[in-house]
């Protein structure tokens, strides 16, 4: 399995409920790349999990020679774009923290109304965690980025380095998309029955979290507790 970006750190997390979580560290060199990487990954995952009738739409990335597929659902596109914007905002505000986009699919279980809660329970059956870091330019955020910095030298070498970096990122992104395709096919048994809906067939949510390293695991733990599953990630 290949890590994407410049920091190799990736592990496959298999949740006890049969879902699959993909964690990885990706570092992009700029906002534009971050936007495209996030969008490509999210849409690709959703294209393989929105099992209602879709009319697929090809999207060519501008920064990479990669074409990915969207579901052709304008609402979905809007939502993802909003989330990516939120993500960028978050990264801007917390450049030193680990920023994660989490896409999870769930089933809605109507909990029996009790005295304590009328909440509808969400049963998450698949969760994708995407750690995406956008490297800040050292001129403005020098010393603050704890990931690989972009070394900028005056002259053409900076451009050359950027193009090399981008080519590497493109290769990594393509490999990750292949990995996503492989995962969505490997793990299919846990996917619920497809309701008679068009487009996005399963409810999903995209959350953006930004935590320091120590608190990051707690966020995930809390999220798991909210789903009602007693077991933890191994």
């Amino acid at each position: 399995m290949v890590a994407m970006g410049f920091d190799a750190g990736r592990r496959l997390v298999v949740g006890a409920w049969g879902g699959v979580g993909l964690e990885g560290d990706w570092t992009t060199a700029g906002w534009g790349e971050g936007v495209e990487v996030a969008g490509g990954i999210l849409h690709t995952i959703l294209f393989h999990r929105a099992l209602g009738l879709v009319r697929p739409k090809d999207i060519d990335l501008e920064l990479f020679e990669i074409t990915y597929v969207q579901c052709g659902d304008t609402e979905l596109e809007k939502k993802i774009d909003e989330k990516i914007e939120q993500f960028i905002d978050r990264v801007e505000k917390h450049p030193n923290k680990k920023n994660q986009v989490c896409l999870s699919f769930y089933e809605v279980k109507n909990k029996q109304p009790s005295w304590f809660t009328n909440k509808v329970e969400r049963l998450h059956w698949e969760q994708w965690n995407i750690n995406l870091n956008v490297a800040q330019h050292p001129k403005t955020h020098s010393g603050k980025s704890h990931h690989s910095k972009v070394l900028v030298d005056p002259g053409d070498s900076a451009l050359e380095e950027r193009s090399i970096r981008r080519a590497a990122l493109e290769t990594s992104l393509r490999e990750v998309l292949f990995q996503i395709i492989k995962f969505v096919n490997e793990k299919k048994d846990h996917v619920p029955s497809i309701p008679n809906l068009e487009g996005v067939s399963f409810p999903y949510e995209i959350t953006i979290s930004s935590s320091s390293d120590s608190a990051f695991g707690m966020d995930m733990f809390k999220r798991m507790l909210q789903t009602g599953h007693p077991t933890m990630l191994s």
């Binding site: 534009g32 936007v35 774009d81 048994d189």
Partner: protein, 621 residues
């Protein structure tokens, strides 16, 4: 929805799923690789709209009308358990002399297998009743949906997709073509082919009746083929979009050793219409490379599509006369009409009790239809990025007399915030993204971007430096150049007509980008001095823009010589002899206008240099 009980009923259902799966796979592969397969303008529509909708619902993947070629394949006569082998073949005509145009008999047609898709069902346990078969069919169907989505996505990630895109995007004059062959057996690869081919196997779907699998053997790299749109057919530029026809043709890929091998009949006599294969009609006429296949197959009569003719060699079981019986699309041996119709009407295993859902037209189908028709296999319009984002100046022709370039650079400092990298502006990204949202939802209005997709140019550009060429959904081969709103929101304010040549602006911006990455003031002043007519092409372009702007500015006097001197040193205009007349009260408004123009120019220069300097204008104005 009925539930056929018993092994025969189960297998009949499975057979139906399997046959639709094979058809859908074939549709995906051909739709993603062979531009000529698509029905255009109603021609080649295999089925009525209702049937087409039913086909779309299979596996929840709406691909539009099935090409008539699918019907011509006489699909239903084949043994479903035999593998379906789809060969995607790149056809090139090698020129034997300097002549760029194909003339009969002079070129050698070379076919190279670039992809081989194998879709098959390996029979598993004998057909038997496996407990809750309805549930197992549902599960199988669900998994096949995901598998087909993966197939669709993967086709866009493989190398051959680029060749397909180039073929789609070129209005005419592609020097290559892509054809296909469908058969039930796969000829072994030669040793050379094996060395350059890679294999990718999708995770198969296990059903009680067998294992359904898709695999592909593909060429890792198509760079050997020097795929390029023909230089003799440069993209047509619509003047009302671009304004200036001065655009260099694409720089060709660097020629490499052409080590490809021929996997089929190497040369064949070209028909009199030998030039046809290298034109791309926009209406479906049965394939492009008509001359070649017809050379070795008897035509079926009339104007037969080439591919079904060639298929006659491979599908021995399919009599040619069946090729045009579109009604044969349904299974001839299908005895369960009721359940078949149910399947046709709805995904067979929907949770809804009603067999045929009454879907309200989804928004993406109704509003997005023009977009989809264009984007399937092509792409949604990709904006031409702001010229600041960098582009190779190789294919940029400096039009020094362009009057409109000056409108762009002064606004670039807005993007710079505190980040010298132009693309590192988050808010700029957002405006870009927002414009993308509006852009993708916009049906074709004839705005077409020119797609370069060249690696070489990519090396020198920093961000989103691609032009995309699209055919408009009307099918007319109009190619225009336009700029969509880039991440710099000021682009929205610019009228397209003011923007005549994006390439020119890129030239202007190239040193800008370098200057941004160097906040050294010395370099800035060097850049400033370079702006005045010395050095690289981009500075020349800037000077040209400046000169032209000044020349076309509303004159205070009808004296061009005064303008040329002013362009070099606005502050000295008072010293230019007759300059005293510039400040006559009755021309104050004109002078103020001119001053504003000078200030704009100053801002332009300052933005390039990245430094501020005191201008004499402020003191003399």
């Amino acid at each position: 929805m009925d539930l056929q009980s018993g092994p025969h009923g189960d297998y009949g259902r499975f057979e139906q799923i399997l046959s639709q799966f094979l058809l859908k796979s074939l549709h995906i592969v051909l739709d993603s690789r062979v531009p000529s397969i698509r029905p255009r303008g109603g021609r080649g529509r295999l089925l009525s709209g209702a049937q087409s909708k039913k086909n779309d619902k299979w596996f929840s993947l709406a691909l539009g009308d099935r090409p008539s070629a699918l019907g011509n394949l006489n699909f239903w006569h084949r043994n479903l358990m035999e593998p379906m082998v789809i060969d995607i073949i790149l056809v090139q005509e090698m020129q034997s002399d300097q002549d760029m145009y194909v003339s009969s008999g002079l070129g050698t047609v070379v076919e190279t297998l670039i992809e081989r898709w194998v879709v098959q069902c390996e029979s598993g346990s004998p057909m038997g009743f496996h407990g809750d078969s309805s549930a197992s069919h549902k599960k199988t169907y669900k998994k096949l949906i995901i598998l087909l989505r993966s197939l669709y996505s993967t086709m866009r990630l493989l190398p051959a997709h680029r060749a397909f895109r180039k073929l789609c995007l070129s209005s005419k004059g592609c020097d290559f073509d892509i054809i296909y062959k469908v058969s039930s057996f796969s000829a072994p690869f030669s040793r050379t082919e094996e060395e350059v081919m890679k294999q990718y196997v999708f995770i198969p779907v296990d059903a009680p009746q067998g294992r359904l699998s898709i695999s592909v053997t593909y060429r890792e790299s198509l760079s050997d083929f020097n795929l390029e749109t023909s230089a003799s057919f440069p993209p047509q530029i619509i003047t009302d979009y671009v304004g200036s026809p001065a655009t260099d043709p694409l720089r060709a890929f660097p020629s490499t050793d052409k080590g490809f091998c021929v996997t089929s009949v190497p040369s064949r006599g070209m028909q009199s219409s030998s030039s046809i294969p290298f034109q791309r009609p926009h209406s479906w006429t049965g394939g492009l490379h008509r001359g070649a296949p017809l050379g070795r197959n008897l035509p079926l009569g009339g104007s037969p599509p080439a591919y079904p003719s060639s298929l006659g060699q491979y599908e021995a079981a399919s009599p040619p006369t069946d090729n045009y019986r579109f009604q044969n699309y349904r299974q001839p041996n299908h005895h369960k009409a009721t359940s078949f119709d149910d399947y046709q009407l709805s995904p067979p295993f929907s949770a809804s009790p009603s067999p045929s859902p009454s879907p309200s037209p989804p928004t993406y189908l109704s509003s997005g239809n023009p977009v989809q028709n264009r984007t399937r296999g092509e792409s949604s319009p990709v904006s031409i990025p702001h010229p600041m984002l960098g582009r190779s100046p190789r294919y940029l022709s400096p039009n020094l007399s362009d009057p409109n370039r000056n409108s762009l650079p002064p606004l670039s400092p807005r993007s710079l915030k505190h980040d010298p990298s132009y693309q590192d502006s988050p808010s700029g990204i957002r405006s870009w993204r927002r414009s993308d949202l509006t852009r993708t939802g916009d049906p074709s209005s004839g705005i077409i971007n020119y797609y370069s997709g060249q690696k070489g140019s990519r090396d020198s550009k920093d961000d989103s430096g691609r032009f995309s060429a699209l055919l408009s959904s009307s099918g007319s081969p109009r190619v225009g150049l336009s700029r969509s709103s880039s991440r710099f929101s000021f682009q929205d304010d610019l009228d397209d007509s003011d923007f005549s040549c994006p390439f020119i602006v890129d030239d202007v911006d190239t040193p800008e980008m370098q200057a941004r990455q160097n906040v050294d003031g010395n370099r800035a002043s060097e850049l400033t001095s370079q702006t005045f007519g010395v050095g690289r092409k981009s500075q020349d372009a800037a000077v040209g823009a400046l000169v032209h702007m000044l020349r076309t500015a509303p004159p205070l006097r009808q004296d061009s010589s005064c303008y040329s001197s002013r362009s070099l040193n606005p502050g000295l205009e008072g010293d230019a002899g007759t300059a005293s007349g510039f400040f006559l009260p009755r021309k104050t408004s004109d002078a103020l206008e001119e001053l504003r123009v000078y200030k704009d120019v100053k801002d332009l220069l300052l933005s390039k240099s990245g430094a501020r300097f005191v201008s004499k204008e402020d003191t003399t104005g």
